[in-house]
Symmetry: C2
Subunit: 390 residues, 2 copies
Amino acid sequence: MAPPVVALGLFGTGLIGSAHMKQLAKQTPYLLEQLRVDVRVVAVSNSRRMLLSGSALQGTEWRAALDSPQAQQADPDALAAHVASHPGAAAGVLLDCTASELLPQHYCSWLGQQGLHIITPNKKLGAGPLQRYQQLRQLQKDTGKHFMYETTVGAGLPVISTLKELIETGDRVLSIEGILSGTLSFIFNSFQPGMAFSEGIFSGTLSFIFNSFQPGMAFSEVVRQAKEQGYTEPDPREDLSGMDVARKVVILARECGLQLGLEDLQVASLVPPQLAALSTPAEYMAALPQHDGDMAAQAQEAAASGEVLRYVGKVDVAGGTASVTTSRYPASHPFAALRGSDNILVFTTERYGPATPLIVRGPGAGAEVTAAGVFGDLLKVLRYVAAART
Amino acid sequence: MAPPVVALGLFGTGLIGSAHMKQLAKQTPYLLEQLRVDVRVVAVSNSRRMLLSGSALQGTEWRAALDSPQAQQADPDALAAHVASHPGAAAGVLLDCTASELLPQHYCSWLGQQGLHIITPNKKLGAGPLQRYQQLRQLQKDTGKHFMYETTVGAGLPVISTLKELIETGDRVLSIEGILSGTLSFIFNSFQPGMAFSEGIFSGTLSFIFNSFQPGMAFSEVVRQAKEQGYTEPDPREDLSGMDVARKVVILARECGLQLGLEDLQVASLVPPQLAALSTPAEYMAALPQHDGDMAAQAQEAAASGEVLRYVGKVDVAGGTASVTTSRYPASHPFAALRGSDNILVFTTERYGPATPLIVRGPGAGAEVTAAGVFGDLLKVLRYVAAART
């Protein structure tokens, strides 16, 4: 029996989409041999152009073809219809590797009417209007088609799957607390030299210890370095406003059954109103040093109590609330020891109690790990397709 | 359309099996409503007796029934055949919640010939003879039936699933390093007061710090407490020999493609040969204090360098080797900060590099979390069964 064909359409040819295409091309023989599914990328689109193909696009040919006369103007519904009607396909899958507000408006129709599976790192549905979120959930249940979004929180780290399994096996989640932004993790790890402290503790004198424990750089300088090293959006205020973290918190909260939206969250923005009002990123960066004093005072106050500042998202399931705040943690806390742009999530549940919660930690951003997380979701869908054939 | 029926048979009615039965009973309505599968426990066995039922066993009735005349002498093959032939079942699943050496000898026949899925926390197949392991793998591939063993390492923590996904999406695992025994985690966390050190650092004087930094209790005393609190096997040598950790390391190593067995591992036993030779646990416990000096010397040597001792399993994928050793780690290392009987696994891969590996941490033993991990595996199988019906 020929292996079932799965037709794939990709929205977004940026870093994540491109990395995924490369990973998928490399693993296609494995998928055919071990999972016994024949995955064919038959459509690719960026925000302007799209390419609809009758056969599987090979390797990286799609990239050049997108700029060729073969390609046409981007039309998301036409792309979905093309994938859904691929001759002989056992299933169709759409990958939304964009941050588009627009595409999630089509998910219900693509999943419910076209019968397509949807996989995405795009947070705009999961953290979008509650009614649309619930509608998609219901369609999922009614149709058996999958909507998968592991990479919306913690990129490739096993976050959503872990949470789902806790809940489905009857555990009761009490709270989820985490450092959920790679960008802000990097900024706070650099701003408050907790690492230097814990690394230096055994190597020298008491004076070294307490010297290291003072904030080493101005906050504006840390943000400037993060921007230069590509850790922030072109306008760092998009990260520092906390909205990216807030979206992740909403997704986690809804997973736990809380019916809330972005508007219900307390979000402590790191962008003072005067700076939010400035019209360009350059003006913001120029004005940022004026606020270094505030941040330094907060950090020093924390340091005086042996603590560090961290930008943390929290879901309090029992209380029915969720928040994003700058909070203080002792240097022995797992949040204090992060490196680089690490994310960390702490799940406290009935089974994994407060003293020994379940913790997942690692890079929570980056094209390769995010693309791999998307691939992980795809593997699950492919196994269901394969199961339907046995 | 009536939901597909899945017939379930359970081996092992100890702590894990009983906890699983309770969790499953609680979630059965959810499975029916959300997953649209009708799970029926139709067979239960302990090492002496078994109960084969024509219909689903309700709640905890199986427990009393196992001691009633309804029950018969345990016969694993008869139980498997009963589950496989449940009228109208779309699939049959066996749960091996024992530590039996015997049952894994039947897995190939149950999966390959009876067409049953097998889910287990039992390490005896995964760490058993390589040839049998490979045979089961091949049968899995040929039949599409599942063999699932998430709970063989780290209990309910997402370990095997995380590792499988890294590999299947084309990442290259470089090494896995972990504290894999809840028992030994507890013993070493208590023996070397790393927690007290990091908790005390900001609260007092330098003298307090360095006082805390000495091993607080004799090793034999820590083992005695661990035994009293139920953290060890009745004979603590079963834990302290390192064989339980070694089995987990073999399972992880094979998952990474290394073709090795227990006999290929370097295992640093914590039981000196003179103590291994004693015939009873009581004699062992009585003689253990004679070796306190050795352990104290090791711990003090580590402490003098600002380090702690930990009992660690390691797979070096590139080197093709695996080991179980007592190693030293700086107090800032994630291994130093564990609590209670926490496990921790550190995956270093091409994508999750040495500076920022993927880390999973939490309780890696206990009936509730292990049973929930078994349930997580069952959920995957149930979804495949449901997928086959859509």
